[in-house]
């Protein structure tokens, strides 16, 4: 099975703000940006137990400043792009450890950063996301960007 968790900050996200300012300087008209770290676990495990374990690993999830949600979709949300490293080492042994903790039943782990862009009161359209990816968010020399060019925008709730 695959379980995908998104971890984001509950406190102000300075990195997202810097990115917002930088993209505006590059001429991309955005209202705000949300950022989350995505962790995709593959293996034969109990998802609830895995989630409980992850919630105790502070290098991934610190309850004082993070929120964590299970992502059921295997693709980015509207206005969102996932950036990961093309050749990021993926653990493929039967024992995956994070911060010295063994994750029972997990065979592989991939990480990505999810950026969600908002413009004009709704999620940014794919053309805008594409420009952000090309100009700043992704270095194609070692990173991949995953977003759906056919995606529709949805209203912003912020």
């Amino acid at each position: 099975m695959i379980a995908r968790f998104a971890v984001s900050l509950t406190i102000p996200d300075n990195t997202a703000y810097t990115t917002l300012v930088a993209l505006r300087h590059l001429g991309i008209d955005l209202e705000r940006i949300e950022r989350a770290e995505l962790y995709e676990f593959d293996g034969d495990f109990d998802a609830a137990k895995l989630e409980a374990t992850i919630r105790t690993i502070e290098t991934i999830f610190n309850p004082n400043k993070h929120r964590m949600e299970l992502r059921s979709l295997a693709e980015p949300l509207p206005g969102e792009v996932w950036i990961d490293e093309r050749d990021e080492p993926v653990a493929t042994t039967t024992r995956v450890t994070v911060a010295g903790r063994m994750l029972e039943g997990v065979r592989s782990l991939r990480r990505a950063t999810a950026w969600r862009l908002y413009s004009g009161g709704k999620t940014a359209d794919s053309a805008t996301v594409g420009r952000a990816v090309e100009t700043l968010l992704c270095n194609p020399a070692f990173q991949r960007a995953l977003y759906d060019p056919r995606t529709k925008t949805v209203a912003s709730h912020a």
Partner: protein, 263 residues
């Protein structure tokens, strides 16, 4: 000859770099990110020191590469001025596309990506051996064949690029330095980060923009050594302790190229 040592929020090696620049006889000055770009145009050369410019937000060097002062540096590089990027400065230069310089500006074709050990930070004394590009680079022409001691101190120093781009980098003579041992032998054991082709530094086609990952300014004087034999021998001898060490030759070469009027 005036050299701007650029300081972005998060840069942390500007003082050592400035000291090395001055020791090479150059008129070095710190230039902060808030400076008026017009005032920065007058410098004869630019150095981007190490650190974590803009906290490496998004990825190492990505935000600094778009700083308005980098417009001036890019313009200077394109007019032939010398530009040296060290560690984080090297990452910035790759993000600007100035190095290796095989694609458009600010469309990077290569990167110093997270180390091959899972991105863990490493600080270790290394040797960087000058290679092929010397003939056309004013920086490198003054260097001999001998490996130069420096300090690799980074979490993102692994050269990555597509297979085709790596071939272009190699065949186009863009490799300025490779990691080696003291005798000049390169092997997996001496590459601290898994860098492709063992690359420690890259240069552009014109030879005036150099990006090196290890820090020469941290091996500029004997007193900077960590209990090595040279430092132990220099104990109780002020002059010996203040003697130039291996990394200083990079700045001497920089000064030599500037004094030769490279533009």
């Amino acid at each position: 000859m005036s050299v701007a040592v650029m300081v972005f929020p998060g840069t942390n090696s500007e003082d050592e770099t400035l000291r090395a620049v001055k020791a090479a006889g150059l008129d070095g000055r710190l230039v902060h990110w808030s400076a008026d770009p017009a005032s920065v145009r007058g410098f004869d050369a630019y150095i981007l020191p190490g650190g974590f410019a803009y906290e490496d937000r998004i990825r190492a060097g990505a935000v600094a590469a778009h700083d308005r002062l980098m417009d001036v540096v890019i313009e200077g590089a394109q007019s032939g001025k010398l530009v040296l990027g060290i560690c984080n400065g090297a990452q910035v230069l790759l993000e600007t596309g100035l190095v290796p310089g095989t694609g458009p500006i600010r469309r990077p074709t290569a990167a110093f990506a997270p180390n091959g050990n899972g991105g863990r930070f490493r600080s270790v004394r290394v040797y960087a051996r000058p290679v092929g590009a010397r003939a056309r680079s004013p920086f490198l022409a003054a260097l001999g064949d001998a490996p130069i001691p420096m300090w690799a101190s980074h979490g993102d120093g692994r050269l990555v690029a597509s297979h085709a781009e790596l071939q272009t980098i190699e065949s186009g003579g863009h490799i300025a330095f490779v990691y080696s041992d003291e005798a000049g032998i390169t092997s997996d054991a001496v590459i601290p980060n898994g860098s492709a082709l063992g690359v420690a530094g890259l240069v552009n086609a014109r030879g005036n923009v150099l990006a090196i990952m290890p820090h020469p300014e941290r091996d500029g004087w004997v007193f900077q050594h960590r209990d090595g034999p040279e430092k132990l021998a220099a104990m109780n001898d002020g002059d010996a302790m203040l003697a130039p060490s291996g990394g200083s030759v990079i700045f001497s070469a920089f000064a030599q190229a500037m004094n030769a009027g490279v533009r």
